[in-house]
């Protein structure tokens, strides 16, 4: 996985992102794949704008969910999965 403060993850081009009540359904037409994201993964993907660094994301998640501590490990794991699935670069 790309890592460090230098990495500014960005959602891959061409994704068709469909919001439903409790998450996202992401269609990759070029790979003919569909991904099912829960709410947390959906927010992480939304934050992958190319402007936020990977290191900023846990704090942004903490603010979004009003958490007592930044979920660093969970966000890192989520970013790894999104990257492995080709949803972010």
């Amino acid at each position: 996985m790309s890592s460090g403060t230098a990495w500014h993850p960005k959602a891959t081009d061409g994704l068709e992102i469909n919001a439903v009540a409790d998450g996202y359904v992401v269609h990759q037409p070029d790979r003919e794949r569909v991904h099912y994201l829960n709410h947390t993964a959906a927010i992480v993907l939304e934050l992958c704008t190319g402007k936020n660094s990977a290191a900023d994301l846990p704090e942004l998640m903490r603010l979004a969910y009003n958490l007592p501590a930044a979920p660093g490990k969970e966000v890192e794991e989520c970013l790894r999965t999104l990257q492995e699935e080709g949803l972010i670069a």
Partner: protein
Amino acid sequence: MPEDIAGRGPDRLNHVENVRFLSCAFEIRTNSRDLHERLAYIVQRSDQKAVPLLKRCVITVLRSGEEYRICDDGGMVEVEPSLMAALESLFRRLHQRALETLPDHIRIHTASGLHQERAFLMVGPKRAGKTTLALRLLFAGFDVTGDELVLLRDGRATAFPRKFYVRNGSLGLLPPLPPVPGPTPFAMNPSEGRLIAVDPTRFGRPWTIAPAEVSTIFYLEPNHGGHTAAVPCQKVEMVRRVMTECAPPATGRPDWVSDLCRTVDRARTFTIRIGELDSAVLEVKRILG
């Protein structure tokens, strides 16, 4: 020799049947009285006035000796070695041609019905109990429109108008079926065994096929022999489940996943663990209101 009237020649296709499957109307011509009689397995008379008619096809089935030659609009397509094989082949061909006429639609493997002018779907894998529950709902007075396939486009679902095909082994789960004049149409399916064709109009209600917005989606999980329970199902999970039971439009229109997601998101979504069937009917009734 074919069983046609002597003197008219074996090739006279003087047994004719007309049937419509959504936007495609078929005229089936055959020289085989046996095949013509067996067409009751396939032919249905649902009301499809709300669906535009786009195409007419002629299919001929010529019996020659033991063989059945099936020709589709003039070109020979298949030669089948028996009556039952010819019936199966014809069944597949009619459905295929009808589906080709609506290539922009998503095909969902689901039973369906209409309630207060909106559609409800009962999605589930093979042997989840779709047909059995569909028939039980017909007995309970619901307008059940299909037991197998729905076409979806722009959030509107249209049941594919085919008879309900009941496995012999499932008959014991149903009250006695309303009688029909003549023999009950059936076919032998290599994977399913004997399948009995049931026309929903036997239950005394109209069988109307019309596109309708989807109000409710049930996902059926088999719990045969156990209790029935219905619980709300998350939307992402329902999309995932429906995806496993659907085929994309033949045209590959790019927005089909969005279409499906919007449909699921707007609908009420439930999982029904199908055990005891009377309770399953009550749960559907309670949820549909």
